[in-house]
């Protein structure tokens, strides 16, 4: 990889090799700023009969080249570098989640402490965690060994013990893994990479446990003391091993690695990077979600702390049947404002599962699919909240003042009232026919409280920008601000003792295009027009005991931003309790979600 001089970079090409589709974008320096100008996509070619990821890459890049009228691929099928006139690019970067992404097995001593920290490190690096083995995970040792033998992870992360503490337990964990001889997913000539990030004192003992059938790497302890996590070194090592071993054994990746100007990152790792950068730069708390066909990733940054979870079987096509099983059909149908036959729906869900690429043709099918999406997102967010917690196992010093507010470790750090921005991406959110549908899916699933901005990733560009931020932060930030996010608007939601028909809060809005005042009763949902680039000043006066962001009963005055949908005032209460179908229909109509349905009536 060559050294990059950011000032000379005028044309950037970025690809994301997903499980099914490879997406390419072109970023160009236009009128003194970086803009995303063209995009193309092609089926990913990791599987047989192609078995070479670069075929999909070249196809996607060729589509971009045709659209941009710029030659990007030479006669030998290589990306042209550097840019010269109307050909080539100065920088080429890529992310990858093809072939199922990075799959890891994680082990620690105590499930709620070191094992959980190890899981956080793996997830943060963009991995799918296949299982977590811990001394106290309630499985018998031989069951744990059997499980390790069955799995075929790309790598294993072992943690356990604080530095200088007892070595026995972490060695015991290693002694379970060593004889199990876990087999890697790719290639029989591949030695299973194992990263040890536990008690430093036990490192040499761990080396003794494993023979040369594994490739052992030792890094700094990811939990050197109970009060602090040190996930950076383990995450970096995971990325290194991902490149050196996993990618190198995936079909065609050796070629792709020789083309890129920055290390290939796992797609979710790159998304996490950009979300962290944005949250830090704007000093906000943010949640990002990517709902795919098989899995749903949730990312959050609260108070500067980053967390990521993967809900492995919550998705809109391959896993749609699992969403219905986990959420249950009554929970899905509560979002549907007309009658549907449950037996027929169950069959339709299974038909979507076995033919995952089909799309809803009728409005009824769309409403149902968006109802499933609400439940998939709700469950994924719930799992995320349960995982994104303060450190468990930390001793707390208490004073008399804490008597009535005793908090233990392990409290979620996801606070919906402090959430400033929700970014949605993934087919069902990005390709909804109306952005109003996207906005209400996000509001219903995440139930933000107080004042929260809503956005969607226009063409799922965040992975590309996550890698770009590593090598050219200026370009990444400029494209993120101007082309990546489409702001849908702002949601204002009240929390408090809901009483049907009683006032929840009063509002007064002043701005260039929006001047309105009124009151919201519990159960009301209202949409006010406030366009993109427009802002307004809102004053919220909550009823007694009701919180709209300033605390119970406290008035709030703040600037709110518009978007393609506008300003949504939500007095339906939190947690959202759904009424009967007519009430849901009232909400649907308040946001004019399905105008063609109203026309049919």
């Amino acid at each position: 990889m060559t050294t990059i001089d950011p000032d000379t970079v005028k044309v950037i090409l970025a690809t994301d090799c997903g499980s099914t589709t490879t997406k390419a974008i072109l970023i160009q320096f236009v009128d003194g700023q970086y803009r995303q100008t063209h995009r193309g996509e092609a089926p990913t070619s990791v599987e047989e009969p192609f078995a070479d990821v670069t075929i999909g890459v070249i196809n996607a890049v060729t589509e971009v080249a045709e659209l941009a009228d710029r030659k990007l691929v030479d006669a030998d099928g290589r990306i042209i570098q550097p840019a010269k006139g109307n050909a080539g690019c100065d920088l080429y970067i890529s992310t990858s989640s093809a072939g199922g992404g990075l799959q890891m097995l994680v082990a620690g001593v105590v499930r709620q402490m070191t094992a959980e920290s190890a899981k956080r490190a793996a997830l943060g690096a963009g991995a799918i965690v296949m299982d977590v083995i811990a001394s106290n995970d309630e499985r018998r040792p031989h069951d744990q060994i059997q499980r390790i033998r069955e799995l075929r992870p790309d790598m294993i992360l072992i943690s356990g013990g604080t530095d200088g503490g007892t070595t026995t337990h972490v060695v015991q964990i290693a002694e379970l893994i060593a004889p199990a001889k876990p087999q890697p997913r790719f290639g029989s000539d591949y030695r299973m990479p194992i990263i040890y990030a536990g008690n430093a004192k036990a490192a040499s003992l761990i080396e003794d446990v494993f023979d040369d059938t594994v490739d052992l790497a030792i890094v700094e302890n990811l939990r050197p003391v109970l009060e602090r996590e040190n996930l950076g070194p383990a995450r970096d090592k995971i990325h290194d091993v991902f490149l050196e071993h996993v990618m190198a054994h995936a079909p065609g990746y050796d070629k792709l690695m020789s083309w890129v100007d920055a290390p290939i990152m796992p797609t979710p790792g790159a998304v996490g990077n950009i979300l962290q950068t944005i949250a830090e730069r704007q000093s906000i708390n943010a949640v990002g979600v990517d709902i795919g066909g098989a899995t749903t990733d949730v990312f959050s940054v609260f108070g500067g702390t980053f967390n990521r979870t993967v809900s492995a079987n919550l998705g809109m096509s391959y896993s749609i049947s699992n969403v219905c099983a986990e959420a249950t059909m009554p929970n899905i149908l509560r979002w549907v404002h007309f009658d549907m036959d449950e037996r027929e729906l169950r069959n339709r869900v299974k038909n979507k599962m076995i033919r995952p690429t089909t799309i809803p043709q009728t409005i009824e099918a769309l409403v149902f699919e968006q109802a499933v999406a609400r439940e998939a997102l709700r469950l994924a967010y719930q799992q995320h909240k349960e995982f994104a917690t303060t450190l468990k196992g930390v001793q707390q010093q208490r004073t008399v003042g804490d008597t009535f507010s005793q908090q233990t470790g392990g409290q979620t750090i996801v606070d919906s009232m402090k959430l400033d921005l929700i970014v949605g991406s993934g087919g069902v959110l990005s390709h909804a026919p109306r952005m109003h549908q996207t906005a209400l899916m996000l509001i219903d699933a995440f139930q933000p409280e107080g004042i929260t901005r809503l956005a969607k990733d226009s063409i799922f560009m965040m992975p590309h920008l996550g890698v770009l931020a590593q090598v050219h932060p200026k370009a990444a930030m400029e494209v993120f601000d101007r082309d990546c996010l489409i702001y849908l608007g702002t949601c204002v939601a009240s929390v408090g003792p809901a009483k049907a028909g009683r006032t929840s809060f009063e509002y007064a809005i002043t701005g260039d295009t929006l001047n309105e005042s009124g009151e919201m009763c519990w159960g009301d949902l209202k949409l006010l027009a406030l366009g993109q680039q427009e802002t307004a000043r809102i004053t919220l006066t909550p009823a007694r005991g009701v919180d709209v962001g300033g605390g119970p009963g406290k008035r709030v005055e703040q600037t709110v931003h518009g978007g393609t949908v506008g300003l949504v005032l939500d007095a339906r209460g939190r947690p959202l309790v759904l009424g009967d179908a007519p009430e849901v229909e009232r909400w649907v109509n308040a946001l004019d979600l399905y105008p063609q349905m109203a026309a049919m009536v």
Binding site: S19, V46, E47, E48, A98, G99, G100, P141, H142, I145, Q146, T167, T168, V171, Q172, E175, L176, P179, A180, K181, L205, V209, A294, N313, Y318, S319, S321, N322, C324, A325, E326, R343, E344, R346, N347, R348, V349, K350, N351, K352, M353, I354, R355, P356, T357, T358, I359, P360, Q361, T362, I363, A365, L366, H431, P433, R434, Y594, Q596
Partner: protein, 375 residues
């Protein structure tokens, strides 16, 4: 894109089919290149290392881990039997000795002075691989397995449960639109591949299992019946390893749906022939669909010409199946292929095609919602 790539399921009277049969770990291949094998012949075998059972001697005998080694009655590599003493404390003046016995038999693999734990590895377990398809051994992959090839009638299903099985093709329904009910399943169908028409009912599945049928192939089934059959709600379509006593394959989808007439006719033409069937389905990366393979005799080969492999392209006149409501399961042929995306009833914009139905009507369908009928 000038053309649309929409591969479908293969249904063909004759194709050359090759299967790769591999051991999970290295072992012995029992056949050689050029051999003719029957579907249930064993072509390769090996031994999987036995299960590992840890025994924490330090905890059991209340010893410091470092003292475990000197209390061991067995050393690394020694065989042990279940119930046999493997460690004993020295006791006090030779009295009050505590003994630790092996819970399982096997070989003592390791003794740890750090944790005081020993590992006993159980007896190796034999693993064998059958030919699955009657045919000729084309390639031997040393220590790994073989590739077997023959000409077959080949039907791909859309979804199945249960793994590889074998049997004679027997037709239970008279038409592709007839529902497969329990009354149509007879004891004589034991160890057979029962072919139904439309939906297989829950009671038909039960009846087939009772009489010991190998598999059922039919047009559709209800999700509810699948749930009752499996005992759980299937969340993700990765199947094949269920131990359910019978393999089920549906050719069209879930619900009341008739088997494509062409598929029914083909299976009917092969009634009485021996088939290999696999219900394994995987719809994530590396798509795997269930299959029915019916090897052809020399006479059959002469009668059935080989069909050309499909290029997967949507071209006017080609037969397609609509795979999403409101026309789910309807068959027709490709009509016009407008290049500009159109707005659907759902409000989404998508590229569409015109499908000419057998009734003479035409419907507009998103291209994503059809699949080619191949073969």
């Amino acid at each position: 894109m000038a053309t649309a790539y929409t591969p479908g399921l293969t249904v063909t009277a004759r194709t050359t089919h090759r299967v790769r049969r591999l051991l999970p770990i290295s072992g012995d291949v029992l056949v050689k290149k050029g051999d003719t094998v029957a579907s249930q012949d064993i072509v390769a075998e090996t031994f999987m290392p036995g299960d590992i059972t840890p025994v924490n001697i330090a905890n059991i005998l209340s010893l410091p881990p470092g003292d475990v080694a000197e209390c061991m009655l067995k050393k690394e590599g020694d065989p042990v039997e279940a119930g046999e003493p493997i460690a004993r404390t020295k006791g006090i003046f030779g009295l009050f000795k505590n003994t630790c016995t092996a819970r399982v038999g096997g070989t003592l693999e390791s003794i740890s002075s750090v944790t005081g734990q020993v590992m006993i590895r159980g007896e190796p377990e034999p693993v064998s691989v059958r030919a699955y398809l009657s045919g000729d051994v084309m390639t031997v992959l040393p220590d790994e397995g073989v590739e077997i090839e023959t000409d077959v009638s080949f039907v791909q299903g859309i979804f199945g449960v249960g793994g590889e099985t074998y049997g004679r093709i027997v037709m239970a329904c008279e038409s592709h639109e007839q529902e497969l009910t329990a009354e149509l399943i007879k004891p004589v169908m034991k160890e057979c591949i029962i072919v139904g028409g439309a939906r297989m009912t829950g009671s038909a599945i039960e009846r087939a299992r009772e009489i010991g049928a190998s598999a059922i192939v039919s047009g559709g089934m209800d999700d509810e019946d699948l749930r009752d059959f499996l005992g759980y709600d299937l969340g993700v379509a990765i199947t094949g390893s269920e131990d359910v006593g019978i393999t089920l394959i549906i050719t069209e989808g879930f619900g009341d749906i008739a088997m494509a007439a062409r598929t029914f006719k083909l299976l009917g033409s092969r009634a009485g022939a021996d088939a290999s069937v696999n219900g394994a389905t995987q719809i994530r990366a590396g798509v795997m669909r269930p299959e029915i393979l019916i090897p052809l005799t020399a006479e059959g080969r002469a009668k059935s010409p080989k069909s050309a492999p499909s290029d997967g392209q949507l071209v006017p006149g080609r037969p397609v199946r609509i795979i999403r409501d409101p026309y789910f399961g309807v068959l027709g042929t490709v009509g016009a292929l407008p290049s500009e995306p159109q707005v659907l009833d759902s409000g989404s914009k998508a590229r569409v095609l015109e499908v000419k139905l057998d009734s003479g009507d035409s419907v507009i369908i998103p291209r994503a919602n059809v699949e080619l009928i191949e073969g």
